[in-house]
């Protein structure tokens, strides 16, 4: 249950940041609909944001391990 709460909080933070970042990257002049080119941009942006999150997570994790081994 604690694990699940943390997972939910974490997913929420991810979704909030992703929405804000991708809105800023993809919608410069908000029109009367979210048109298909904007949707395509948001979809790509989400995938790149997930890639970045995972990459950062791995890079940070391996760095922490290296630092621990040095001590």
């Amino acid at each position: 249950q604690v694990k699940q709460q943390i997972a939910v909080a974490n997913a929420q933070e991810l979704l909030t940041k992703m929405t804000e970042k991708c809105f800023k990257k993809c919608i410069n002049k908000p029109g009367t609909t979210l048109d298909s080119s904007e949707q395509k941009c948001v979809a790509m942006c989400m995938d790149r944001y997930m890639d970045s999150w995972n990459l950062v997570s791995r890079a940070y994790s391996s760095r922490l391990q290296k630092e621990r081994q040095r001590l």
Partner: protein, 80 residues
Amino acid sequence: PQLQQFIEIETQKQKFQFLVHGLTDICWELCIDKPSSRLDNKSEHCLKNCVERFIDCSNFVLNRFGKTQFAAATEEITFD
């Protein structure tokens, strides 16, 4: 029970207002360049569309994330 309902409604209102503060922040930066003596039509349209498109964008992200990645991502994120 009445007290509880009262608190629930007030909490909802507060949540709503904090989302409005956040949305105003984002749409102000996008739509308002130099403050002028009145809110012109262009800025007004921009603000309205900004709110609508931000919610669209948020729904789009939520749906897409839900469909393709939720289970996988939650696991990956949590137990990485």
